[in-house]
Symmetry: C2
Subunit: 451 residues, 2 copies
C-alpha cells in the first residue's frame, strides 16, 4: 500500500492507520480550458488520465495539495458501517498561517491530537445549548486528560442564526475577560457554522487576536464554513457584514459527531459537497453519484472521504485566494439564487444548503440556456440532489421580482453588473463572470417562478 | 544638499520641497549593549560617530529605515514660526502591508495626496463632535476636489474615551451599511486616538476588512496611536481588550491641525515624543532638550521634525515586531505606572500622556535605584518633562497599594512576574525584563506615595 506508507513517512500522527484497499473508480476524461477574459474558470483538477485506478497520494499530487495524508477513495459497501475509523489530514497552505484539518472517526477520543494545538494554559470553549449536552464534557476531557495544567472555561450560547449578532458575541468577550484569559489562551469553537463564525471572530478580536481551534459538528461546517478563515456576525441589515479573515490553529472533524445530526441538516451540508464536484472536481462528483446512498446512510468511511475531498478543494481555492479577490467567489455556485431564496422566503424556513441546492439547479439551468453545458449534466445534477433529498426548485412563493430585488444588492455586483458563477464546459468546470446574455437569466427566473 | 537630492530621487511627491540647511547637533557617543538573557535591550541607534553634523539621509540609514524622505534636523529659531511648511515621509516597512506617513504643514490643502490612497468610489469619514466643525469640510473638500466620482459620507461620534465602546462602534457599521459601502470603500479616521482606534477596528471588521486612512489631529495620535496598526475598543472591564492589528493605507499628519489643540493635549502628546528619545534615540532626546521651547510654541518646523523622528522610531519597532511578541513592549516605558495612575485616579482626571510622564519618572527612578543609569540622566528626564509642563510625580492620592493592585493584572505579567520597561546603560538604551530586584520597585513606590 504505497499511499499509506507515504502517509506515514510524511506525518507521524497518533491516528489509527487507514485500513482499506485501492478502489476502482471510473475516471472521466476532462480537458483543460483556457480562462476566458475577465472571468475565472476551472479545468477539472484531473487532467487527461488513462487510469481507472488511483490512490489518494496520486490524487493529492494531481490537485496540487501540499502534504496531504489521504486514504484511497473507498467504494462503499452498505455492510461496512462498522468498519474501523479512518483518519486523514488535509493541509491548508497559507504560508505562516497554514494549518491542518484532521478528519476521522473518534478524534475527540484522542486527547493528544487536540492538546498539541493548545499553546497556552487557558482554553475557552464556545458552544451552544444544543451541542453542549452532547459533546462539551467530551471536549473538556480531551483538553484536560493527562494535562492538569490547562484551565478550561466554557460559554454556552443560544442556538440559531438569529443569535449570530454583536449582543451574543459580547457574551464570549465577557466570559474571556472575567476568566482573565491572556494573549496565549485558545478559543475552541464546538458546534456548527454559527458557532465557528462567532468564536472565530471573537478569537480574532480578543486582545487583538488569540489562538483558535475549530471542532465543527455539522456537515455544513465540516466541509465549508470551518475551512478558509471567514469569521463574523450578522448585522440587522445583512448577513456576515462584520467579521475578519482569521485562520485557526487546526480544524478537528470528528465524524462521530454526525451521529446526532438531524437528517435535514445532514442533507443541507451535502449540497456544498455536491457543489465542489460541480465547480472543480469531476472525479469527486462521479464518486458521489456512486456513493450518495452510503453518505445518506452516514457510512463513516464514505463521510471521511467526502469531507476530505471537500476540504481539499476548498483548501486549494483558499490558498490561491485567501481574501476573496475573485477566484474564491466560485465557491458560491448557487449561492446568489440561494441567498435570494433565504431572504425572500424568510430565514429559518429553509436551511442554507437547501436554498443552495435549489440555487445550483437554477445556475445549472441558466448555464444550459447559455449553451455552456450539455443537457445530460443538468439531469445528473437533478438526480444527485434528489438522491440527497434536497430541493431542486425554489419555494413556490418566490417571484421573479423577489429574486431580482435581492440579487441587485448582492456582494458580487460590480459597477452595476451582477457577476454569477456558472458551469461552462465539461463536468467540473465553471466561470465567475458578468459576461452573459441577460435573457438567459430572465428565462431561468421565469422558468422557476409562477409570477 | 545631498539629502534632499536623495529624497527627490526616491519619491516623487507633490509636496513642497524642504527648505532648510544642515543643522548642528551634538552627537552623543553611545555603545552597543549585548542583550541580557530573557530581556530586550536597545543600543542607541546612533552607533559610535565622530560627526557632529548630520543630515537626515544618513540618519535614516543609521536607524535602518527603508525609504525615508527626511528633512535635516532644524535648530529652531524662535523667530522662525512663519517659516515655510516642511513636508516629509516616513515609510512603515511591513511587507505587503507597508504604508507611508506624510508629515507637514498644509497637507489637507493638497487633495491629490489624500486621493491617491482612496481606491474605490465610496469614502466614510469617521470623526467626532469636536473635530467635525473644525476639519470635516476641509477633509471632504480634499477628498472630492476635481474628483466628482467619489461619494463621501461621514459619521460624527461623541468625543471622549468613554465612548470608545461597542455601542459607538455600531454607529460606524450602521452608517456604512445604510450607505451601501462595498468592499472597495475607504474609511477615513479624522481625529485623535479614540477616533483612530475605533475607525481602524471598524475598517478591519467591515465586510472583513476595507481600506483605511488615518488623519490624526492630536500630537498623541500623530506620534503614537496612528502608527503601528493597533486598533480597538474598550470593554467595561478594561481598555483596548477588543480589537485588531490592522494597518492603514497611509497616515496623513497635517500639523496645522495642532493649531486648534488645547495646551494640555499638546503637552500630553509630547510625553510620548520624549519616551522615544529615552528608550532608543539619544540624539533625538538631545535635540528635544535644545528645542522644547520651540515645540511648546508650536513651531511647525520643530513639530514636523519631532513627529518625523517619533514616527521613524515607532515604525522601526513595529516593523520588527508587528504583533507585539516582545520588542514592541518597550514602547510602553512609563505606561505600567501610568496605567495604574489612570485607573487609580479615575480615567479623565489626567490625560494619558500626563500619566505616562509621571510613570516615566517612576521607571527612571527605579532604574537608578537598580544602578542601571546615572543620576545625571534622572535630572535630564525631570528637566525636559518640566519644560513640557508635564507632571513629574503621581497624584498625591495614589497609594502603594493602588499601584500594586493595578500592576498585578497588567498585560505584561507572565507567570506571575511583572515585566517592566526600564532604562539601562547610556541614554537611549532600555530593557524589557522581569529580572530586577523587587526591593527597588517597592522603594520607588514608597518614594512617590505618601501611604
Amino acid at each position: 500500500m504505497a499511499a499509506s506508507s507515504s502517509f506515514c513517512s510524511q506525518r507521524t500522527l497518533p491516528l489509527r492507520t487507514p485500513s482499506h484497499s485501492h478502489s476502482k473508480l471510473s475516471s472521466r476524461h476532462s480537458l483543460v480550458r483556457l480562462p476566458a477574459s475577465g472571468s475565472y474558470s476551472y479545468p477539472s483538477p484531473y487532467l487527461y488520465s488513462e487510469s481507472n485506478n488511483y490512490c489518494s497520494g496520486t490524487r493529492a499530487a494531481k490537485i496540487g495539495l501540499k502534504a496531504s495524508a489521504t486514504p484511497a477513495a473507498p467504494v462503499m459497501d452498505q455492510t461496512s458501517s462498522s468498519s474501523p475509523a479512518v483518519s486523514t489530514v488535509v493541509e491548508v497552505d497559507l504560508g505562516d498561517r497554514s494549518y491542518p484539518i484532521y478528519i476521522g472517526s473518534g478524534l475527540l477520543d484522542q486527547p493528544q491530537l487536540l492538546q498539541r494545538h493548545v499553546h497556552g494554559k487557558q482554553v475557552l470553549v464556545v458552544t451552544n445549548t444544543t451541542i453542549a449536552p452532547l459533546y462539551l464534557d467530551k471536549t473538556i476531557w480531551a483538553l484536560t486528560d493527562r494535562n492538569p495544567n490547562v484551565k478550561v472555561e466554557s460559554v454556552i450560547l443560544p442556538d440559531g442564526e438569529q443569535y449570530k449578532n454583536m449582543e451574543t458575541l459580547m457574551k464570549v468577550f465577557d466570559k474571556a475577560i472575567e476568566s482573565r484569559m491572556d494573549r496565549r489562551c485558545t478559543f475552541v469553537a464546538l458546534g456548527g457554522g454559527v458557532i465557528g463564525d462567532m468564536c472565530g471572530y471573537a478569537a480574532a478580536s480578543y486582545l487583538r487576536g488569540v489562538n483558535f481551534i475549530q471542532i465543527p459538528t455539522t456537515v455544513m461546517a465540516q466541509v465549508d464554513s470551518s475551512v478558509g478563515g471567514k469569521t463574523g456576525i450578522n448585522h440587522r441589515l445583512g448577513k456576515n457584514l462584520i467579521g475578519a479573515f482569521y485562520q485557526p490553529q487546526c480544524v478537528l472533524v470528528d465524524i462521530d459527531t454526525l451521529n446526532t445530526l438531524p437528517d435535514r441538516e445532514l442533507a443541507s451540508g451535502l449540497a456544498e459537497v455536491i457543489k465542489y464536484g460541480l465547480i472543480r472536481d469531476a472525479e469527486f462528483f462521479e464518486w458521489q453519484e456512486k456513493n450518495m446512498q452510503a453518505l445518506m446512510a452516514r457510512d463513516s468511511r464514505a463521510f471521511t472521504y467526502a469531507i476530505k475531498c471537500s476540504c481539499e478543494n476548498k483548501a486549494q481555492v483558499v490558498s490561491l485566494d485567501e481574501l476573496e479577490s475573485g477566484l474564491r467567489a466560485t465557491l458560491n455556485l448557487g449561492h446568489t439564487f440561494g441567498h435570494a431564496i433565504e431572504t425572500g422566503f424568510g430565514y429559518g424556513q429553509w436551511l442554507h444548503g437547501e436554498a443552495v441546492a435549489a440555487g445550483m439547479v437554477m445556475a445549472v439551468d441558466m448555464s444550459r440556456r447559455l449553451g455552456w453545458i450539455d443537457d445530460s449534466l443538468v439531469k445528473r445534477v437533478l438526480n444527485i440532489l434528489q438522491q440527497a433529498k434536497l430541493p431542486t426548485a425554489p419555494p413556490e412563493s418566490m417571484t421573479v421580482d423577489m429574486f431580482k430585488s435581492v440579487m441587485a444588492v448582492d456582494k458580487k455586483v460590480a459597477d452595476g453588473l451582477l457577476r454569477l458563477i456558472l458551469l461552462k464546459g465539461p463536468l467540473g468546470s465553471c466561470v465567475f463572470t458578468g459576461e452573459y446574455d441577460r435573457q438567459a437569466l430572465d428565462d431561468t427566473l421565469r422558468a422557476f417562478c409562477k409570477s
